[in-house]
Each structure stands twice: as structure tokens, then as C-alpha cells.
Amino acid sequence: MLQLFSSIYKEILIIIRDKAGIAILFLMPMVLIFVMTLIQDSTFRKLDESRLEILFLDYDQDSLGMAIKQGLQGSGFFELATTYENKFLDQELIHQLLNKGKFQIGIIIPNGATNTIRNKAELIVSQAFDSNDSTNINEVKAQDDATIILYFDPAIKNSFKQSVKNSLQNFTFAIEAKITFDYLAEEFSDILSSPNNIYFDPKGSIRFEELYATDEHTEIIPNSVQHNVPAWAVFAMFFILIPLTGNIIKERDNGTAMRLEIMPSSYLVVLIAKALVYIFVCFIQFCLMLLVGMVFLPMFGLPVLELGPNKMALFIMAISTAIAATSYAILLGTIASTHEQAASFGSVSVIVLAALGGIWVPVFIMPGFMQAISIVSPLNWGLEGFYNIFLRGGGIKSILPFVGLLIGFSIISVFIAYQFRRFRKV
């Protein structure tokens, strides 16, 4: 025990005397979580100050153009620009502005688009009520359909492009349905010789209710903070490998590891002490990142991070992730020949494992084979475990499979490191 406590004390002294190292260990993860959560949050949430400006050219100047304009403005995501530097827009100017990357989306509503809808609606209604009318609707459609032109910045993401198209389709369907309905109502009014008192409800009769499949008795509301803080916390914890591999390799290079190995005590004690100290450091990192979510992010208008009712589950999950991160660092520190090798391979491997594990992009939107691969990433196990606590309101039982995987990964990592050390012994 004397050797263990002495080694722990030595590691603590080395850490606290390295001011730059402390900044990397504690400040950088806080900065990372702060920046990443703010950025990711602003991408998705509805903020007046972050509305996307769309170039909007309405040649129609009728119901369709107005409906699209009102719909886009009313969505809260977009702001419509009809001029640029006091110049009226035209197709050429829109093309140029998007090509230069000054705007991301341009919409051109063609002249007579509403009339096209009206003509088609009139034809459908007249055919429905007049059996002698033999006009083929498909022919009319092919000849007279109006085309709304959508310009996109080539750099825009496909998913975002798709959501803009879906919104526009909703607005056009609604206006088509309304015009057709108005013609039908008028026809009925004529047939029944009574005033037209049928009206079209554009909101429809179907409502949506959002329910979250969380465990009972939880008051956690899923939001960007609940998503991002655990995700980036797992990512940052695995970066413990930079200082820990450096520590192991430095000890090997300057001969202190040799000195310790030829002492009567076991070098394993030194390694265990190192692991315990760095697991504790990881845990402190995690607590600081939670603090960012609970105190600092709300100062910037984001929701407060809710820890949920299962604090013990949270503690177990944090310690398991810290053990996995530390074990991975011990493995790399043992295998790598130089600190440069360990730092560059280690950083890239954590980024790859984070990408695979769903830290950058949710696993469910990955291609099938990537989803299959993602389950081998320890960062995925950490993330899923934390999601069970932070988003699904789960308790200890719900995280046990992930804790098992993380501890199993740690045992295998340390075992490989030990075998490699024996193999490399001269």
C-alpha cells in the first residue's frame, strides 16, 4: 500500500506542476463542450437572430406566391430577401449571388403559377360534374404545369435542401387543395342554388402530439443540451490519452520506468496508481463538463442540463467511461514508440471512433453497414449509456450492458498492453 499511495502522490504532483497540462486536461474539454453545444444548438433551433436569408422572386404575384411567402416567413427559420443592394432580383442575379456563396437558397415563382392551378382545378371540377367533357387531365398536366425554380448553393447539405423542398411542397399542396375546394364549393352552390357557406380549413383536422418514450417519473425534456453535453463529454474524456500516453512514454524514455522495474516493488503498482489518478482526472473533467451544461450554457440562452433522478447511474457510467478511456491510453502508451506517434494516432483514432460511435452524426441516419460497425466503438457504448440516463430517464439497470462493454474493453486493453510489454522486453 505504501508503494501505491506513494505512486499516486507522485502522479498528482506531476499533474499539478504542469500548468499547460492542467489547461489541456480541464479547460479544453470545457471549451469544447461549450463551443460544440452552442454551434449544434444554433443549427437546429429556431432563433430570430439566426434565420436563414432566402432570395425570393415572385413573378406570380397571386395566391401561390403569397402562400409560399407567408409560409416561409411564418416558419421562423427563414427571412425572405426580394432585393439585393437596392437592386430588384432577377434569375441572373440570383444565380450570381448563390454562385458567390452570399446566399444559400433562391426561389423563383413563375408568372401565372396560380392560374395554372386554377385552370387545372376548374377542369377537374368540370369533369367531375359534366360527363360530356372528355378532356384528358394528364395531357393538361403535361402541357401546363408551372415550375418553381429552386436555386441552391452547392455547399448546402442535402438534408437541409430536402427539408426546404418538403416545406415548399406542403405550401403548394395546401394552395392547390384550397383552390380546388373553392371551385367544388362554387359548383355545389350553383347546383343547390344556395349561398356558398362551405369553407376550407387549411389547418386540416389532424393534429400532432409529441410524446417522448422516456421512463416513468422523469421530468427530463430532450433538448440540444441533453443531447450534446453527454456526447461531447464522452469525446473529451477519451482525449485523456494525450497526457497519459505522454506520461508513460516519457517515463520509459528517461529511464525512470527502468529504475522502477528493477526495484523490489512491482511496476504494476506504478501502473495501477497512474490509472487511478487518471480515472479520477477523467471524472473531474466529466463533472466540469456537467457544470458547463448546468451553469454556463444557460447564460447563453440554452436550456439547463438536467441530470435526472439517477445520480448513481450517472456516477457509474462516468467512472466506466473514464476507466475505458484510461485503459485505451495505457494501451497506446505501451504500444507507441514515441509521444508523437501516440498523440497523432491516438487523436485520429478517437475522432474515428467518435464518428463511428454517433458523436458527430446520429447512428440511426448512418448507412446500414456503418450502423453495424458503430456498435464496436467504445464511444458509442458510453454515448448510449449516457443517453439512457440523460434522455430516456433510465436507471442503473438500463446502463449495465454498456458498463459491461466498457469494462470488458478496459480489461482487454490492459491485457494486450501487458502482453505487448512482455513481448517487447529485451
Partner: protein, 251 residues
């Protein structure tokens, strides 16, 4: 084990993985107790390999080693208790003070409390580091680091002390302090096995020597007897050059 053979090495061989030539080729020699024994040789001769095998850091391929009657193969734990090693590298923690380094090393050797503190004070004083013992090692000069490196190897008062080039790259003053201290230590009964490139220093310090080259022991015995054994051997340097030649060694 008698005074004449505190360390007994027989047919010791070692070839590094991937190397064409063996680093040690069936070497055999004995080191008497209570002596300062110089293991001398050019770069890459096999000195450090021999020391690292003797202290259990490297594995040998074949041969037997007996230290104080203990077999290296069977009693490594016992051997570790009676040996001290001063490696060629400054094997210290730069961001700890001298005292913190020594306290940690002492604890790792099983020392604690007042006994350890007294021993640390004694060693620091003897090697003139007591006044700077609360400074971080990274602020030390090369000579101070070498002296502290030496203390770290002998803090637990080992019966046998292995020194791998303990005076490399330091000033005359530090070298003198170290050599005087080693002589003092030997007088108190510590057997010292020492490697160096400084033949003058070895001649001044060692009672017996072995010269090793290309993994083979070329000569072994009492230094004064060796010098007297041939008329062309005027000093250690002439013996060394006659046996190892003048060809440059680039390790």
C-alpha cells in the same frame, strides 16, 4: 559465496531481436566482493547489456548468473533487494523536487518515515545537494542531476551497486565529489560494478577490471597485476588500446 565471487557469470549470451551479431558471446567472469569492479569497453561492446542482464532488466538467452548466492533465474526478487542501479540516463522526475524524487524512490524500496528522512538528509549532505533539495530537478545543472541520480540508486543502501557511466557530461567538481563518495561507499562494504569511457577515472577508482569488446571478455583481473603482467602495458589506456584496437566504433 566467497569474497572472491560475489557475482559469478558463466557462459552468458544475448542476441537482440533482429540483430545479426550477438551482443554477448558466452562471457564468463567473476566479481569479487567489496571491490570496485570496472567493466570497460568501447561503444557497443556489451557493457550496458551485461549490466542490464545482471539487474534483471534484460532477459539473457543462455548462461547462468549468481549474485550473492542467488540465481538470477530463480531468485530475482531477492537479488532486487540487494542491488542498486544508477542508469546512464538521468532517471528522475524533472517536475518533482530532489526530496520528492528520493522520498518516492525510498517508498518504492519499502523505506518510510524517519529512517527514510534521515537517509535522504545524509545522502543529500554527502553529495552537497542538501541546500538545493527543495528545488525542482528541472532547475538543476547537469552535475547536480548526476549526483542526485547516484543517490537515487543507493538510497536503500544496497550491497551491490551497478553504475552505468555515472560521470558522463559533468564538470570536474561534480565528478570528484561522485568518485570520492563511491570510494567512501566501497570502504563501508558496498561492491561497485562500474562502466565508463573515462579510463583515467577507472584506473583511479577500480581495483579489478574486465575489458569487453564485440560481446567477448578480452581480459579480466586485478588492475595492478594486469599492468605489471606485460612490459608494454604501462597503464590502463595502453592495455585498452592494445586489446580493442584503434578502429572507430559507431555503436
Amino acid at each position: 559465496m566467497t569474497k572472491e565471487s560475489l557475482i559469478k557469470i558463466e557462459k552468458l549470451s544475448k542476441t537482440y531481436k533482429g540483430a545479426d551479431e550477438p551482443a554477448l558471446k558466452n562471457i564468463s567472469f567473476t566479481i569479487p566482493g567489496n571491490e570496485i569492479f570496472g567493466l570497460l569497453g568501447p561503444n557497443g561492446a556489451g557493457k550496458t547489456t551485461t549490466l542490464n542482464i545482471l539487474c534483471g532488466y534484460y532477459k539473457k538467452d543462455s548462461g547462468t548468473v549468481q549474485i550473492n548466492g542467488y540465481s538470477l533465474d530463480k531468485n530475482l526478487k531477492e537479488i532486487k533487494k540487494i542491488i542498486g542501479v544508477v542508469p546512464q540516463d538521468i532517471a528522475l522526475y524533472e517536475t518533482l523536487t530532489a526530496r520528492e524524487n528520493l522520498r518516492f524512490i525510498g517508498n518504492m524500496c519499502g523505506m518510510r518515515g524517519k529512517k527514510l528522512n534521515n537517509r535522504i538528509n545524509e545522502c543529500l549532505e554527502l553529495l552537497s545537494l542538501d541546500k538545493s533539495s527543495y528545488r525542482l530537478v528541472k532547475t538543476y545543472s547537469g552535475g547536480m542531476k548526476r549526483r542526485l541520480n547516484l543517490i537515487a540508486g543507493l538510497l536503500h543502501e544496497p550491497k551491490i551497486l551497478f553504475l552505468d557511466e555515472p560521470t558522463v557530461g559533468i564538470d570536474v567538481q561534480s565528478r570528484t565529489v561522485i568518485l570520492e563518495y563511491l570510494k567512501e561507499l566501497n570502504k563501508k562494504g558496498t561492491t561497485i560494478i562500474y562502466t565508463s569511457h573515462y579510463l583515467e577515472e577507472a584506473e583511479q577508482l577500480c581495483s579489478s577490471i574486465a575489458i569487453i569488446d564485440y560481446g567477448t571478455i578480452l581480459i579480466e583481473g586485478n588492475l595492478q597485476s594486469l599492468i605489471k603482467s606485460k612490459s608494454e602495458y604501462s597503464d590502463l589506456e595502453t592495455i585498452f588500446l592494445q586489446l580493442t584496437g584503434r578502429k572507430l566504433r559507431d555503436n
